[in-house]
Symmetry: C2
Subunit: 343 residues, 2 copies
């Protein structure tokens, strides 16, 4: 643990190099302000001494941490992996690093993380909002965050901030159009929690597109629950129990779809022969299901990168409004959807 021998500071380097601390600082941050000779010399000493600037001091001095806080409700969700990567890639290309936090849908954790932002542990926040925080009543979001800027990764009507989200209306619509094209007219929908904007929109888009074709989802075909495998399994039981089951189901995410794929056949409905199943998200394993799952691919990496870019633009002053950009998803047709049987 060579942690004892105190690390060299600008002063050490300055003394060693026979220049002032300012020169050392400049050599590192604005090299072109120095005579090439001096620069080379200082840099050599820097290397010789193994000097590394102490970011704690830099941060205090500049007021910048070059750190982005990323908040999601469940870091455990594989869904976010690519999203993080997109953020990380762009952020790092701009010299920022990531503080990733999991709020677990818990108001206290959320507050804690907001507190860290206020305490300048990060310069800005990338937030995948699920629910509007309760504390928001007591002030604006900017107060909560200590004035640090925020970019939302989900739409939220009660928070006024730049937003970079997936175009879920379009996603839902894509599913409807695909299924209609195949000839389906009898549908079921297994929804997630509709109070979440991103869920609501895939629902709205789906149903709007159906409505335009003169079709509606019957009441008993409107199922839903949490965004998990079990919801799909439960839905499969409900669907197979119906007198005239739908010929196509739209699951609000791939986990639900997997639950369907897994349970429907066991309960007597083959996919896609008897019933088509379309998922949403296009998780990595969607294409390895049996049958391969038709899904809506969300460009999660691009999404993360766009959000990071937006936040950094705000931080660096080149973005001042509160734009809302919606990233279009992409439809992935696979084996789990097919034309309905003729009967």
């Amino acid at each position: 643990m060579a942690t004892k021998p105190k690390r060299p500071t600008v002063h050490d380097v300055a003394r060693e190099a026979g220049v002032s601390v300012a020169t050392v600082s400049r050599a590192l941050s604005r090299p072109k302000d120095l005579k090439k000779e001096t620069l080379d010399h200082v840099l050599k000493v820097v290397r010789a001494t193994g000097y590394r600037s102490n970011q704690m001091a830099v941060q205090l001095r500049t007021g910048l941490s070059r750190t982005l806080m990323v908040l999601v409700s469940d870091i455990t969700n594989a869904f976010y992996a690519e999203f993080f990567k997109g953020i990380e890639d762009y952020a790092r290309s701009r010299g920022y690093i990531l503080l990733i936090g999991d709020t677990s849908q818990d108001a206290q954790s959320e507050q804690d993380y907001f507190g860290m932002l206020s305490a300048n542990k990060a310069d800005g926040l990338l937030w995948n909002v699920d629910a509007t925080p309760a504390e928001l009543g007591q002030g604006t979001i900017a107060d909560l965050l200590g004035g640090h800027p925020l970019v939302l990764c989900n739409h939220n009507t009660e928070i006024d901030a730049p937003t970079v989200r997936i175009d879920n209306d379009l996603g839902g619509r894509m599913v409807a159009e695909h299924l209609l094209d195949l000839g389906h007219r009898a549908f079921a929908e297994v929804a997630g929690p509709l109070e979440h904007d991103s869920i609501r929109r895939r629902h709205d888009g789906f149903n709007a597109a159906l409505a335009e074709a003169g079709v509606t989802v019957p009441t008993d075909g409107q199922l839903g629950g949490a965004l998990g495998i079990e919801t799909g399994q439960a839905a499969a039981r409900q669907i197979t129990a119906m007198e005239t089951p739908p010929t196509a189901v739209f699951a609000h995410n791939d986990a639900i779809a997997i639950g369907l794929l897994h349970s429907l056949p066991k309960l007597g409905l083959r996919v896609p022969d008897d019933i088509s199943v379309v998922g949403y998200d296009d998780m990595p394993y969607a294409c390895a299901m049996t049958p391969e799952l038709t899904s809506v691919r969300l460009p999660r990496r691009r999404w993360g990168a766009a959000a990071a870019k937006m936040l950094i633009s705000v931080l660096e002053g080149s973005e001042t409004g509160t734009p809302e950009v919606a990233i279009p998803p992409e439809f992935k047709r696979r084996e789990s959807s097919a034309p309905p049987r003729q009967n």
Copy 2:
């Protein structure tokens, strides 16, 4: 953007409360050093002014960032999600936050992150090593990290540091024993990159247990490749092309197993009737495959928590050796493995 009105500092609070800055600082960090009266008064002013300490200053002054850096080679891998959560949970309970970095198996990125550690962006490092960094030749790992402590989450013979890893020898052994118990004697193994310690060990454990039963994997049954679905698909082709295919396959992770599950039936071998498949990792979707995948469950969350605990112990001085703890996995029997057919 209420970012203009400069935030209150200890001085502001001190003036407002009619005490010294020292007293304000104490009120926040060591309340019991103050007369209850003073304390209450200061705290009231703190609340009134909305004061929040500036962590940048605290860090510089104390030399502590209360931040843990976590480095993995691919943040995109769903495998890490639960691992992160375990780290986050424990870390946060101890007042630490997480800086998560993705090295992309890239030496430069790795160096960059090490540099940030040296620059005190974090107090310590939790590292899921894949390969020993090339730069290690030029000095000890402690130098590279600026003297900050490190806990490895994978064994690495060339780096001497406390390690908290999964007991992969045991995992591999569990698979062999399960399959032997079922009556299998003809095996194939689809391995990952054996240069990784965690992969090597599941291989070693598996083969050692087979050897003890007097069985070996024939040469043409020793397959392998990257830890992805495609490797499983390719292996399925090789296996089905064999004159006498094995009755059981051990896939080094679930992705490979999924590739097998997906491709074997298409090529004429039913799972588990003709051939048993056992995966490794027990990813969330393993139990939703058709057939449900028998796998080795890695307690990833517990693993992360244990690693975080170890690192914080080192940081706070209560752990000084270089212990190596191996966390035992758990066997999950499901549908994809069954006794071999009698023939």
